[in-house]
Amino acid sequence: MKQNLTKLVASILKEARIIGRDRQALFLFFVMPVVFVLILSLALRDAFGERPGATFPVLVVAGDRGEISANVIRAFRSNSHLQLTESDHASEVQVRQWLIEGRYMFAVLIPPGATEQAKRRIGEMAARVPKELLTEKPVEVRVLADPALRGDYRKVLEGALSLALHGVEMRLGGEQLDQLLKTTLGERYVPMPDMEQTPVFMPIHSEVVTKERGDPTPTSVQQNAPAWTLLAMFFLTVPLSVSFIKEREQGSLFRLQTMTVPAWVVLGGKALPYFVINLIQMASILAVSVHVLPLLGGDRLDLGHSPLAILVMGASASLAAIGFGIAVAMYARTAEQAASFSSAVVMIMAALGGILVPKAVMPPLMQDLAVFSPLSWGLDGFQDVFVRGGAVMQVMPEALGLLAFSALCHGIAILRYESRI
């Protein structure tokens, strides 16, 4: 046993040496995944869940200083997603230029004297002036939008603007009615109740309804950091299986079989260095997500409260990936076969498991299918920690699933190794 452990250590050192001398592999193992996470987390940051800090710039040109401007500004200011700028004199030409330059994504132009104009029009209407003879035109509030502004956001802004203008309309109409009642009723006049003080409707609070546990939706970085960690880990099966097959093709594996080296020493000597690489990959991706991403304007990854749970998940996912790689190596005939097979299977498992496309945006059938991908178990486990603040107990189902997958793969691989002799 002691002798076999020395052999295991020697095998690990040998493998580490071989990997260390392969510059291309080192680049792929460590630089690629980190770059991926940075790019994708930044690129997709608005495509995920609610981001309190994600704002886009809106300009309100308040040509009048009356109620219309006040109401519109109040409505937009209450929305935390908007970064509001007010101006009282910018020309339309100027505003168009700003939009083209990208300074604002949405601009509302309220013409000078708009409130007065609205009041006069309501006054004429109250005086029963026939429609054709109205001298005052309807007030024109113009909106300019950046084409890059997503259509659904634009609709939301237009809705908010309409609501604000309707509010003004209601109030001005109410004032006019009030005036009318006062003059006609004289003594018997009682003022209208103040709608703002005693609202008819309760303020709206939406409740998020989900299948389980009241899941918060993951943010971009909460999706991307674990997703790409898992993908990087599972992609390591390609170099792992290729190096195994190369060793077979070079004959060194057969040479080891002519010596008294048990299968677990050979497999362990191969697997452990890759296990360490996997953990380094995870550490570097998480470190970048915590420390570098915020510097580049992205969200900082919140690691939750349980470093141990992260380690448990990382270790189980790595063992699952390694088991898969070794099993592929045992059955593939050539290195090319192993490389193309394992990368294809990993990509499919990644797509299915919500790594490439978040499960939240998949239709229910696909979400159910995701259960078949070990990468999905890994992602769920990491998100238990990052999104839901889970600890070791909460990640146990996922971790045990990954470990069972790993054991199955290793079992299949060892059977094959022994049967070859």
């Binding site: 002798q3 052999k7 040496r17 071989i18 004959g251 040479r255 079989q257 002519t258 010596m259 002799i421």
Partner: protein, 330 residues
Amino acid sequence: MNNPCPFSMQHAVKTGGVAAIELRQLSKRYKGARAPALNGIDLTVREGGFFGILGPNGAGKTTLMSVLGGLLKPSSGSVLINGQDLQRHRAAIKRVLGMVPQEPAIYPTLTARENLEYFGRMQGLTGKHLQSRVEACLEIAEISGEADQRVEHFSGGFKRRLNLVIGLIHEPRILILDEPTVAIDPHSRALIHQRLRELHAAGISILISTHYMEEAEQLCQEIAIMHHGRILVQGTVGDLLAMQRNETIQMQLTGDPPAALAQKLQKLPGLQNAFVSGRCVMVTAERPDEIAVQLMQTVHEHGLGVHSMGFGASSLEQVFLSLTESKAEK
């Protein structure tokens, strides 16, 4: 299975002690293969002996070596190493065996020294003993000067020399080499030959496969000629060389002869040895012309015709070529 070896001269083998390697009716058929790669091999390498297996590509040499190295399970038959059954005493036997595979089995991105150290550790060597064995092996291969270069930059000859000494790292008592000098420069080949002679002189039992006639003649005490998984002829180099001095008749038959033909021919008066291999028959005799008529009669009795017939002297090379090529024609 009938005796696949129509002619053997094994009397010299039976000289005392337990044989280093003994194969009994060893057969191996690869999964899905039509013909067996090894077909009833009987072979004995005595202790301290130097045994050569001579055969063209595809003869089954590597398969045989792989069975001996424990890499392949035989389909039937037994392998005894130092009198112990290979299947049952694998671990003990592996320690006394040194294998030198046909293709250099080395890590290209490691240096020669790192390769030797790694395989030495895998053989259970440690510490000072390991270091002294590594140095010794580097010297045997004459690559001490290149010990710290990566093997991928080595020439073919250097790789084969390293491949050889990795098989020696644990000082095995029995050395099994699969075509150790294929595609190699003359200097490296001479060095390997020299080292093998030294090992032989030191009492190591050696089994080597080759497809070079003169290599077998120069190095080995005993030779077996192998083809299509069978041993066609085996004996001491002296026996085989004696055969060279005889006159031969070669015949090409019109159909496949029955298995018993060789034995029948063997009984003809005046005939020394008879080989039947596929449709090719070769006999040796002191006066070939005197037995030619009888020979043809025996063939006719089996309902076969003679396609062609020729007389001539044989060299070991010719024996080898006619035996192996006639089968390859089929």
